[in-house]
Structures are given as structure tokens and as C-alpha cells.
Symmetry: C2
Subunit: 886 residues, 2 copies
């Protein structure tokens, strides 16, 4: 700001390098620092015409932190430094204001003692309150200069009583404050804030030493904060508040109601207060000029702090202002229209995660809430409903029009029908990529998972959270964006996908090089995803279709059959139903690519666990309970994740995959023939670990497919339709598949990285079990991030890179995508862009997020290779850096 | 043999390249083949003075397979080819023997029709029997020439009745036979044999076409087989049998009792028969000269086939003879002493797996056995005992002096006490590396695992195998080398580790470059392993010590404690006991390196599963059953293999590892101080996946260690002992550890590959669950070998290579070993040698096997880098190729 010619009190900065040195050398400073500080202070003294520690005309300074990223309120600040029993008298004489001078002094003593000497501020607050009650007054401002002199004495007494010594020497004060500010980089608040906001610890903070200016020197003084645009809505209006005769901390403390700076900053409760524009028109006019200059200069909405000392405006701080997602979007789009920033810059301005706020309903921020537990924010959005503890009750109550929250120890595929009708899902176990979390995100439903502080008893239909006991039918609310579980119902607000969103996504589509598909298993999912601009389906799981109540019996008969023939018969019942599903999905995707994964989960997931259910099943399918139990037992596995699932089922029971392939191909052929669609089905074989596995399955699939294509040949010929094309590819989700990709690619038209399982196997870490100890890992700083949430570049990512490179040596046109949960996580999407994937696939509600991340990646690190998609312009070559300032 | 100047009937060979061409070109031949065959046959005609298909002096040939590796009896052969209705008459005139000629003809027709025309031989056998019964005779040799003429007619009739045409044209016969022999490379028998003997399918077979000589032309003719040394014992004596007036197939058919070739080949039942030496002394002398020449030439024991035609000896075949393990060893050692082969060659002569036969007791090969089921040959050796179904009964019965076989669905660490007293272990589930298999191999006990055809009911204390029901107390026998489960008791024979074994191992130790350590958890194991020449302990698991009945309660209290302090108290009880264990093991290893792995299994393994046991435990430790059950439930995991185990325990509960480290260090320090040992304990941290994990644990371990070393400082100083050295290293057993080895090596003094878990995670395959479908994989030829038995070089091996290379870039002196089950499997040991490991570690009984494999690897592919071990000579630089012939 100084360089812009704006009125800034003189000062200087100890850079972050000093902070780094400080922490690497047992809190010592570089040798030359002392000399440099002295020199800089001398320059300040000259500019201000005052001297540091001078009896008559003392220079007072503030000592503040200054980090690369804004960390509001997280670190320490000391104001009014330089005051002592002598200089305070100088200040009295100079200002002619004993009250102001001793007010500044007592503030300094308490702030300094708190921050530097570790004497807790409540001691000083208590003394202040005591004095006020002695004087019989309510407001601090009613204390006289003499009162404050007394208070200073009492404050100093407190410091001594706590065994500390308040330094009278301004230099000692200064070095104490510098040490404290550097030290505050590592205080608990700051560390936590950085963890939450992905700010690296090693960045360190700078320390700013600046001349004090005073907003508390009388009624021609003021201090305030303002935003250059509305941080809630993004509307282009100057917006802020101020206090007369006050220092910055008074605005924060909230003891006096701040006044609006102008009429457009007024709201109901400040309707009658005088504005800065009215009270100090000249200073206000200066402020307007400054804010316009600042916004133009930084080309972003600014959050500014100012002080007016005896009518003269001083700027204390400016930084890019925090804003809501909606404001973020509006400001970015408006600024492009105002030709302040380019489209690329606009794209880089929005944090992809922020879009989540716009895509899901949220809790009304004004509402009160009684939070009784906190779990993982597994699927965003807020939801209220009656607690139910099993999927059947969920379904019954929902059928009666009741909104329900499904509460489970953990969910399993058998719970799908209950999940699909619930408003939200709460589980005691499981992580960010547990079954509940994945399914809920896919459905765009609120979910709090791994809420280990609640004790769920499905049997007794209740859960407890501390002293609270919630029974079936009690109202609860989930905030899937924060992980909060709230007693009772909290009002929610709907998302508003406005014109700004549409505009931004248009620009995003122009620049990104990654295609974005969706993971969708049902026509409903597909519709939602299309609405969000998905360009195909990257993962259509077929097992969810098996759980449909109308089919599950046939599925179970298939599993319990002892012969290939018996399985075939049961599968014949499932075939027409699956074909129907596929037809609906193909219709919905209107010719866009659809990748269908053949059956993946271990068969025991389809068999009920409870005796009662087994009894019913035994009767239904006509076997003895004993036999059924034996079969169920024989399917039991110690580590089902590593068991008889995925393509291993396809090796043992080819008839299952044959039936699925038949359903897919018949669905496609019939649509092509009867409804004029153009479809290229992509069949995906899961859990491959060896090329022979893939070859074995691929060969019998092709045999089945060619038989079907033959049966349609005549019909196609009549209509002049060419033979249907299809692709057979594989998932790369176990390390050995990645390590042998050169061979596997010879038998696969495409790869799709299943990074959920690839993360599990590469880390040797079960996502369903890791919740219990992942906290220990984050605390010990072993993992910076949950590897199931953000793709691990060193292990999993390295395997992906190797797989792509070696796969493409065998098959240069190998199509490569990702369909794990990471496909919708911005940092992971950027990684996927960098290693040359063709597309990412994610749950419908994350499609816009993935698109935005992909666009940002393409702007910051454009790839040489053009995607084949038409209508996408080549990326801007110029590396447009986002200007991110505090 | 021809080149040696031995009497071999002239002939020529179609090489294996023709076989490869044949299978790559829909069973067609190279263009030039026909001309070449004609040319070769013309040369044979000249040498023999006969012509192929000639009416008067017909040349007859045999057509036989000839593969790179011997596959006795697996492929097809046609003898007497060239006979037809015309040439048989020529043969009659030439030989003057109608009986012989038509006998040859009828043999040819049946053999040819069976092999080439696919007319099953039982038709011909039936016709032969019928004729004999018509004539009222018993022996084939009693049939007259006229009878055989009639038989030839009937044989031809059979061929026509089966819709086939017997070709009269000798050339058509020849090409038919060639095609059949090539075709027999892919018959089921041959494919199975190759699978069992690790012979690659792509090798293919050659076809040998050779002039017939006749052992059945009268009583001056004979045919026989002989071994140049005794194939059972290896004794140096000429050993064989023969038949007068017979063709080779008669020896095999067993219709006549063969006679001994000399007196030293006689045994009880052949005591009275005339020897070849007696019957044809000249031919016998020739044969002796030939066998001596052959053995000297091939420098190995030969298995030879010969025919004597009218007093003249012809050699038909020679190949290295099959032999028992004991013979193998004796022959190799003897031949070195006879200066026939070098020590290196002797080493290469023994198949490492063969040693297994010598190290474990085996079933008496003479005994009858009633095999009722077959499982996996999980741990070699034979054992008989009474079936028991739980470890406690095993212990009680064993205490009463009864031999027991422990039968379980599967075993768990809680069963250890029962396993350790059992003669053998039989499980219905689990693979070659299941708990039962691994522990049994470690104990050198017989084990049959994954015996899925038996149904075990632990509750009813019985198992069924087909129609058999075996109750507690019934006698059964296991053959852990074949996987057989046998009803009743079968006598066993003990292993004999003789001087030959000791001699060979001495040579092995001289040449190998890999060190061989053992996996041993107890002083007993350690003693056994030392006896077999282990050079240290590569894996000492500490969890087995936790299961000791005297400690398990303290362990359980530790697990159930809610605070770090509570855990510490329980651990304090365990500390002195573990220290005692370590002392014993250190003493036993006498200063050799001992690598101790800190606690690895998930804690729930230590908690009982049954309500009754839980009830007892609850009372013992003074908590309610309900609380105990809740705790047990909270420890439950979906995929325990990927759960809260290994170093993850060390992250969550540092006090566990601290206690273990204390026990190790105090044990070492006390032995050094009190008993003059020199010990460098190696502490191994399991399941590391990230360097930060290792650093975190390593740091607190060092803190604990330095505290202990401080407490011994004074004592050491007094005795002039230097400060104890120690190493802290890690297991590499999950892919991410391998992929980030460069970073991990900075915090590890050594790596030890845990290839059991590394195989599980790299393949995404649970070894406990894969038994149920691994069969499908072997059948579909997807896996050639069980990856848990033989190290997978493409996936797991690639990760190992990468890990070593990158680990050593950070730490050039990184010590690297392997402690998975693969460390004792010869092919895997060879791989470990090739990628630069310093040592392998395996169960005690596999130490000699690993040493032998390591020596073979060093001979065939010596490494540049010398091992640091003293007393090991640098390897022979000369690449001595093993001469392996049929």
C-alpha cells in the first residue's frame, strides 16, 4: 500500500526467513538482525519525527504477525509498544489527554503481559471490572484519567504477583514482542487453523513493526473495517463499520455497537446510527478513493482496516476478503464482465470445494443448534428427520411421508433401499469412503460417518451421545458438511444455482482438458449427473441392481446353486431386469459413453446374516435352514476385501459375467435398433491382477457378445445399421495390475483406476477399519491427509503414473480414467490431470467441482496433448498466475 | 551315443523347433520338412541295407518323443512302423520266423491304431484274450504264427468297425505317427506332468525316428533297462533287469517277471532267475563297457535301455536316472570323490526341494494306506496320532503320553499350545501360508491344510470325509509331503542325515553368497535351526510369547485398559517374562544376529471369542461381561489383515513397543555384562507404509533404549565393555513401503521383506481366503504357481527390486533380507540372490534347502559384491553349467 502512495503509518517487516531461522535455531535470531532492526527503527523515527523511548515525544509501535495466507485472529499482536512510566507522561503532554494516554498504557500492559509474559488477561479484566464497580460505573469510557493511572498501578502489581517483571525498557519490550509473535506461529490455535486450511507449517510468519496511529485520541478519531464488495452475496457495494474514538480491539470486543460506514451498509439494528460518511465526510471520501484504488490494484475484493487519527485516514491492512461461495462466484463473474480479470483468473479464484456449499442444502446459519456429537463430514448437505435404525423401518416410514434419518453401526449393500429413502445417514463406524459415505455422496444425500462418540444399539433402536439418548422416532439433524449431529430439527436453506454458476461452468468447459464423467448406478443418479454436466458414466456398478427387493431372491438362488446350470437358471430370471436397467441408463445418457462394471462384491454380501432372515429365505427357496447356514458359513471370509470378489467371481462362475454382458449388449442393440440410439458400451472387469485373468474373462465375454451381435445382424442389416462397437477394459485397483500394466494393456481397451481399493491395497489399510486409528496418525502428523479423501501421490499416484506409462507403451491409444472417490476431490483431480488421464469420474454432486478443478489444472499446467473432444478450445498457453494475497 | 561310438540303431530327429511350428500353425509342418525326412530316411536305408516299405527287405522304424526334460511314459511311441500286409511277408522270409513277424505286426496295428487313429487299445486286448481263450492257452507266447495272422485280421476288422482306416502305405503310417507324437505333447497326462514338474509348455518335444532292432526274434534276443548306480540308495553298483525274447513294452506290462542283469541286482523274489551275465556273457560284458563309458561321459548316474538282437547289443536310450533324495546326495558326493564332477556340479545336481525328504520322517513306502482325503501339502513329514479337535484336549492327551493330530477348521494363535504338542495338524481351511501351515513349518511338524473335502465340526468333535466319519480319539495319519489324510496308523521311517549331507552342506557354505537365517520364536526353534546351520535369526516374532498361558491374562488386561497408564501396568508384568525369552534366544544364538519384530497382530487376536471364555476372563480381570463384550466388539474389524496392527499399534500405544524394546535391550545388556556375550540386537518395526510412521516409532524407541543404556553405563565401564550397539530397521511388507523406500531407508538400518503380506497386498489377495478359488485359477492356467508358495517376480519381485535400489541410494550400506515364507523356497531364494539381498530367513527345517538354493544361485549367476561374512570364500568366477540331460 505504501508503494501505491496510500496513507500507511511507517513501519518495517521481519521476513518469514527470520521465522524459519528462529525455529531451526532454538528460537534464536540471525546475528545481523539487531543492527537491521535498529537501523529501520531510526528511519521510522525520522519519518514520524518522534523517538523510540523518548520522554517527550515517544514513538509507539504495533508488533503484528504477517503470514503468507491470512489466519485471522490466530496469532498474537501487541499495540502501543514503547510506553512506560516515563514515555506515558510524554504522551500526556503531547496529546494533552491524560485519559487517552493512560488508557493506551493500561491496554499495552495487559496485552503485553498476556502475550509476552504469559500472565492471563482475565486477571486484568477482573481488575478493570473491580475498579468500575468501586467507581459505580458500567462503561470503560466512564473511567477518568486518574482512574486509569490507578489501574496501571494495579496492573503492574498483578504482573509482579504472577512472578513476572514488566519491562520498562522499550527495546526489551520490542524484542519480547517480536519473540512472542514468532512464537505464536506454533500456538495451538494457529496450528489447528493451518491444519484445517491446508497451510504448511514451514511457511512461518513475518513480523510487522509499525508506528501506532490512534483512533482513540478523541471524537475526531475512529477505527473501522470494510469490504470492497458484500462478502455474503458478492454484490458490488462498499460495505463496512467503524467506531468513533476507539482502537481496533474495541471493534472486535463487541462492547459497543459499531456504526455503518455508509447507508448501504446499514441493516435493521443500525438503522439509526450515524454513518462515517455523515460523521467525517472528508475522511470517508478519502477511504472511497483508497478502496477503489486497492480493488483495482489487487483485482480482487479487499477486506481493509483503517484508523482515522484527528481526521486523517491511515490504512492499516488490506487483504483479499473472505467470502461465501455464492459471493465468490458472483465476484469472479462480475469482475470478468468489468474486465478487471480474465476468465482464467475467474476460474482460479473459486476454490472447488466451495462449490459444495452451492450444490447441497445447508443449515440455516441463523438457527440455533444443539450439537450432541461430531463425526466425519462424509457427504455434504443438511438434513433433518426421525431417527430410524433399520432400512425396512426407513422404507415404511418414508412411504407414510415421514422424513427419516437412517442411523446404523455401519451400512451394507443390503441397506440401500433404506438409504435411498432417508434424508440422511448417520453411522458410528466407517471413514470418509465407507459404504455409507460413498453411497450417500453418490445419492447427493447428507451423511455423517465414523461418529465414534455415539453408541448405536440397532437391537434396542436407540443411540446415545454423552448424556443424550435418542430413540426411534426422535427428531435429529445432520450437517454433512461439518459432521455435526444435532438434536431436534434445524431449518435448512436451499442451494441456488444461479446464472453466475452457469456462466462460470461454461468458461470451465472451455479450458479444461480432462473430461468429467459420473459414477451412477440408477437412472435417477444419471439424470442428476447430466444436469450437472457429466459427460458420460465412468462407473456404473451392477451390484446395486442385484439388491433390488424384486431380484434379491433370484440372486440368492444363484449363489446357493451348486452347479453352473443351477446358477444359469437363476441368472436367467435376473437378465431381463438388468437389461431394463441398462436401457434406462443408456437412454438417459443419450449416446454418451457408459462404462459398466461387472459384478464386484463377494457373494456373501447378498446373503442375510440374521437367523430369522435366513429362515425366511430357506423356506422361500426350499432348502433346509441347516444347509443354508452351512452355505453362508462356507462363504465367510477373514478378509473379504481381499477375497473371492471382482473378476475372481468371473473366473469361478463365468455364467454370472456372461449373463451381465448379455444384458448390456441386448439392451444396447435393442435401443440402437428400436430407438435410433448410437451406443458404444464399455464393459469393465474389476480387480484384475494378472493379464491371464483378464484374457480368460475377455475371451468368453467376446464369445457371448458375438453370439448376441449375430442374432441382431439381420435386423441391423435391414435398417442399414453398422455392427455395434463395444469396448472391454479393466479396473486398475490392485498394485500388481499397475505393476504389470504393459501386459494387461494388451488385453484392455481402457483402464479405470479404482483408487479406493488401490489405496487400500497400496497402504495395506482397510478403509472400513482405519477410522479407529487414523486420528492417531493425524495427531502424530504421520499422515497430513486422509489418503482415502485425497489421492496419495507418492504411493498410489506413483503406481498410477507407472501404469499409464507402461500401459500406453503397449497400447498408445489406451483410454485412462479414474472412478474412485478421488475423482471428485480437487487436489486429486489436479494430480490426475498432471499424469495424463483422459477423464475423471465422480459422484453426480461432485461433477461441477471436478470440472472446476480440471479447468484450474489446465490453466496452471496445460498438457501438450489435446483431448479429442470437439468444441473444447486449446488451453491458454500463457501461465496466468492467480494473485492470492492476504 | 552314436558320437561316442556306441552301438545305436541308425535314426534321425525332428527337432523341438518343428513342434513349436506345429503348434503355432494349426498343426502344420515347415515346408522343407518332407524333403528332409525323405533324405534322412534314405541315409538310414543305406546304413541298414534295407528299404522303407520294401517287400523283401523292409526297414522298420520306431517313432518316439524326445523332450528336453524326461517325461517318462507321458507321451506316445509307435514301434515296428513300416509293416503292412506285404512287408510282413518280407520280414517272415528274412527272419525265417512267421510268429515273430506277425507278433510284430499285430503289436504295430494295435499301437498305431491306439495312438494315431484313436481306437482304444482295450478293443485289441479283448480280441487277444478272446483268441487265447478260443485256443485254451494262457500266455501270449503260446500263440502260433498262424494264430497271430488271424489276430492281425481281427485287429484290422476292429479298426474298420470303429470307422477308421489302417493305412497300408508306410509313408502315411510315418506321417501319422509323427503327428501323433507331436500331438501327445498336449495330452492331459503330459500337461499335468509338466505342471507338477515345472516344465514349460513352450519347450515342445522332438520326434526320434529310428531303425527297429528286435529283442523278440528268439532266445538269443533280449531287452532290458539298467541304472549305472542304485537309484534308491545311490550305491555304486550296476543295477538292472531284462527279458529274453521280448520287446520293451513287455518289460513295462509286467506280464512276465523280468530277470536281474547281474547278481548284485538280485532280490528275494528273483533269487533263482538267470542273470544276463550268466545267459549272454558277451553281450553283458559289452553292456558293462557301455555303461561305464556313458557314466564317465555324462558324469551322472544313467538310466539306460538296451536291446540284444541275435546276440548283438544295441543301445536305445540313456538319460540321467531318477533317484531318491538319499541317492541323489550320495551319488553327487561320491562322484566328487571319484573326481568325476566338481563340488559346484555336485551342488547343482541336488534339487533343493528333495532335501525335504531327508529332513522329515516319511511314510514307509512299503506300507498300505487308505487315503480318505487330500489337502495341501503344507508342511512335510508324516505323522500318526489320535484325532483331537481343540488345543486343550491336545495338551491333556499329550500330557498323558498320547500322540495326537490336531484337527481344526482353521488354527489361530490361541491354538499354539495345542499345535506344539501335536504330531501333526489338519485344517479344512487356509492355504499354504495359512496360520497352521506357517506355524507347522516353523515347528517342523507335519501339516495338511485347506483340506476342503473334509467337514469339521469342532462342536461335535468329529470330521467327515466322504463316507468316513472320524471321531475324537480315532487314529489318523497325515502325509504333509503329499497332502494325504489316511485312516488309521501308517508306519513311518526316520530321516537319516548322514555324512554325505554334512559334506555337501560344507561345500554349499563355501560357495553361496546369500546368508541364511531362520525364523524362530522360541529357544527350541532356535536350537533346531542352529543344528541346521542357521546364521542368525531373521524373524523372531514376539506375539507367540504373548500367548503363553502364564502371560495371556496380563496381555488381555493390557488390551482392556483404557489408559496409557493402565496398559503400562499390565505391560510391566509381561516385561520380565519377555526379557527371559529374549535372553534364552540370545544365548542360543551365541552372538549371531537376532532380528526381533515388535508386536504385529491386531489386538483382537488375544481376546477369546466364545462367551464362556469371555465370562471367565471377565471374572478374572474384574470387569462385567457386558463391558468386556463391548470392548471385544469394538476391536472387531472387517479386514483385520488391513487393520489396526503392526506399527499402527506402535503409533496408537507407544507403551507396548517401549516395553518390548526395554525387554530386548535389558536382556542384551545383562548378557553382555554378566555372561560375556557380544550382542547387537536388531529391532524390527512391522507394517510400515510411510517414513513418518517409522520415524515416530524409532524416535521413542531410541529414547527408551538410551535410558536403558545409561542405566548400564557404570557397570559396563567397570568391566571395560563398550556401549552396546543396536539396529532399528523395518519390514517392507506393503506396497507403499516399497514405493517410498528412498525415504524410509533414511530411518531404517535394515529392510526385511515380509513377502507373505507383500504378496497379499500386491495381489489384493487374502491367503486365508484364497484356497477356495485358487484351484479355479490353476485350472484356468491363470496362475502357474501359488504366489504364496513361490515368489511372484513380476509384481512382488518388481517391488522388491525397486525397494532395494531406491533404499540403497539413500543408504548404501542398507542391509536387506527376506523373512516371508518364500525365504525357504528354492526358486524364490534364487530370485532373492539375483536382486541383491544380503540374507534370506526361513523356518528351521528349510535352512538347508535355502542354503543349497543359494549356493546354486551363486554358482550359476555369481554376484560381484562380496558378502561381509568371514570364512566365506569368494564365489567361483567360472560359470559352471549344470549338465542336465534326459
Amino acid at each position: 500500500m505504501t508503494q501505491l502512495g496510500l496513507p500507511v503509518p511507517p513501519g518495517f517487516t521481519l521476513s518469514t526467513e527470520v521465522c524459519t531461522f528462529f525455529y531451526q535455531n532454538q528460537r534464536a535470531y540471525p546475528k545481523q538482525l539487531e543492527t537491521q532492526v535498529k537501523k529501520a527503527l531510526t528511519r521510522m523515527e525520522k519519518l514520524m519525527g518522534r523517538r523510540f523511548g523518548h520522554k517527550k515525544s515517544p514513538l509507539l509501535v504495533s508488533v503484528r504477525s504477517g503470514a503468507r495466507a491470512s489466519m485471522p485472529g490466530m496469532m498474537d499482536t501487541v499495540l502501543n509498544l514503547g510506553l512506560n512510566d516515563e514515555t506515558v507522561e510524554g504522551l500526556c503532554q503531547e496529546s494533552g489527554d491524560v485519559r487517552f494516554s493512560y488508557d493506551s498504557y493500561r491496554r499495552f500492559i495487559s496485552m503485553y503481559s498476556d502475550v509476552v509474559l504469559d500472565v492471563h488477561s482475565h486477571h486484568f479484566e477482573a481488575a478493570l471490572e473491580e475498579l468500575k464497580s468501586e467507581r459505580g460505573i458500567d462503561l470503560d469510557t466512564d473511567l477518568t484519567g486518574e482512574d486509569l493511572k490507578l489501574l496501571v498501578k494495579r496492573f503492574k502489581h498483578i504482573v509482579r504477583a504472577e512472578g513476572k517483571q514488566f519491562p520498562e525498557d522499550p527495546w526489551e519490550q520490542l524484542w519480547g514482542a517480536i519473540g512472542a509473535v514468532f512464537g505464536s506461529w506454533m500456538n495451538t490455535r494457529a496450528v489447528t487453523y493451518r491444519k484445517l486450511n491446508d497451510i504448511p507449517d514451514h511457511w512461518g510468519t513475518a513480523v510487522n513493526i509499525q508506528s501506532m496511529v490512534f483512533g482513540n485520541m478523541g471524537n475526531d478519531c475512529a477505527t473501522g473495517v470494510a469490504f470492497t464488495r458484500d462478502p455474503s452475496t458478492g454484490e458490488r457495494k462498499f460495505f463496512g463499520e467503524f467506531l468513533m474514538n476507539a482502537q481496533g480491539e474495541d471493534v472486535v470486543a463487541g462492547t459497543r455497537t459499531p456504526q455503518p460506514i455508509n447507508s448501504s451498509s446499514r441493516h435493521a439494528s443500525t438503522e439509526k446510527l450515524q454513518t462515517l460518511e455523515e460523521a467525517m465526510p472528508r475522511a470517508y471520501r478519502d477511504l472511497v478513493k483508497v478502496y477503489q484504488k486497492l480493488e483495482k490494484h489487487y483485482r480482487d475484493m479487499q477486506d481493509i482496516e483503517f484508523t482515522i487519527e484527528r481526521g486523517k485516514l491511515y490504512m492499516l491492512q488490506t487483504r483479499s476478503g473472505k467470502r461465501t461461495a455464492a459471493a465468490s462466484l458472483r465476484i469472479a463473474v462480475d469482475m470478468v464482465k468489468e474486465r478487471l480479470i480474465s476468465k482464467e483468473e475467474a476460474i482460479l479464484r473459486i476454490r472447488p470445494e466451495q462449490l459444495d456449499q452451492l450444490l447441497h442444502p445447508g443449515l440455516d446459519p441463523e438457527a440455533k443448534k444443539n450439537v450432541i456429537a461430531k463425526g466425519l463430514p462424509a457427504s455434504p448437505g443438511a438434513a433433518s428427520g426421525f431417527a430410524v435404525f433399520d432400512p425396512n423401518t426407513a422404507e415404511q416410514w418414508a412411504a407414510m411421508g415421514k422424513k427419516v434419518i437412517l442411523v446404523r453401526l455401519e451400512t451394507s449393500p443390503e441397506d440401500i433401499h433404506g438409504m435411498s429413502v432417508a434424508q440422511g445417514i448417520l453411522t458410528a463406524r466407517g471413514g470418509m469412503t465407507s459404504h455409507a459415505a460413498v453411497v450417500a455422496r453418490g445419492m447427493g444425500k447428507s451423511c455423517v460417518s465414523g461418529c465414534s462418540s455415539i453408541k448405536v444399539s440397532e437391537e434396542r433402536r436407540e443411540f446415545t451421545a454423552g448424556p443424550h439418548s435418542i430413540q426411534e422416532g426422535d427428531l435429529i439433524t445432520l450437517d454433512g458438511s461439518s459432521g455435526e449431529v444435532i438434536l431436534g430439527q434445524v431449518p435448512t436453506v436451499s442451494p441456488a444455482l444461479n446464472q453466475n454458476f452457469v456462466e462460470l461452468m461454461k468458461w470451465v468447459d472451455e479450458v479444461r482438458q480432462l473430461r468429467v464423467r459420473t459414477n451412477a448406478d440408477t437412472p435417477q443418479d444419471t439424470r442428476v449427473a447430466r444436469g450437472f454436466g457429466a459427460e458420460g458414466i465412468g462407473l456404473c456398478r451392477t451390484e446395486h441392481m442385484f439388491f433390488d427387493p424384486s431380484r434379491i431372491d433370484a440372486v440368492r438362488m444363484m449363489i446357493l446353486a451348486d452347479t453352473s446350470e443351477g446358477r444359469r437358471q437363476a441368472l436367467d430370471q435376473i437378465l431381463p431386469m438388468q437389461k431394463g436397467d441398462f436401457k434406462e441408463i443408456f437412454r438417459e445418457m443419450k449416446g454418451m459413453p457408459v462404462t459398466i462394471r461387472l459384478l464386484d462384491p463377494p457373494l456373501h454380501e447378498f446373503i442375510p446374516h440374521q437367523d430369522a432372515e435366513l429362515q425366511i429365505l430357506a423356506q422361500k427357496i426350499g432348502v433346509t435352514l441347516d444347509r443354508l447356514k452351512r452355505k453362508a458359513e462356507s462363504l465367510h471370509e477373514f478378509n473379504p476385501m481381499l477375497g473371492h470378489r471382482g473378476c475372481r467371481l468371473g473366473v469361478s462362475y463365468p455364467e454370472i459375467y456372461r449373463t451381465q454382458v448379455r444384458a448390456i449388449l441386448e439392451a444396447a442393440c435393442e435401443l440402437v435398433r428400436d430407438e435410433g440410439f448410437s451406443i458404444v458400451p464399455e464393459i469393465m472387469i474389476p480387480l484384475v491382477g494378472d493379464w491371464r485373468e483378464l484374457k480368460f474373462i475377455r475371451e468368453y465375454c467376446i464369445e457371448e457378445i458375438e453370439e448376441i451381435l449375430d442374432s441382431f445382424r439381420e435386423d441391423f442389416k435391414k435398417q442399414g445399421i453398422k455392427k455395434l462397437q463395444y469396448l472391454i477394459g479393466t479396473m486398475i485397483e490392485i498394485p500388481r495390475a499397475a505393476l504389470t500394466s504393459a501386459e494387461i494393456a494388451k488385453h484392455a481397451s481402457f483402464f479405470s483406476f479404482g483408487t479406493n481399493d488401490l489405496t487400500q491395497t497400496t497402504f495395506g489399510l482397510s478403509r472400513d477399519d482405519s477410522a479407529s486409528f487414523l486420528g492417531d496418525y493425524i495427531n502424530a502428523k504421520i499422515y497430513e491427509k486422509d489418503p482415502f479423501a485425497t489421492l496419495d501421490p507418492l504411493g498410489v499416484g506413483r503406481l498410477m503414473k507407472l501404469s499409464i506409462n507402461e500401459g500406453r507403451t503397449s497400447r498408445p491409444d489406451l483410454k485412462v480414467g479414474i472412478c474412485g472417490e478421488h475423482g471428485g476431490e480437487p487436489q486429486s483431480v489436479i494430480f490426475c490431470h498432471s499424469i495424463g488421464l483422459d477423464y475423471v469420474s465422480c459422484s453426480p454432486y461432485r461433477v461441477p467441482i471436478a470440472k472446476l478443478a480440471a479447468a484450474q489444472a489446465a490453466i496452471q499446467n496445460p498438457r501438450a496433448k489435446k483431448t479429442q473432444k470437439k468444441g473444447i478450445k486449446p488451453p491458454a498457453r500463457k501461465r496466468t498466475q492467480a494473485k492470492r494475497k492476504n
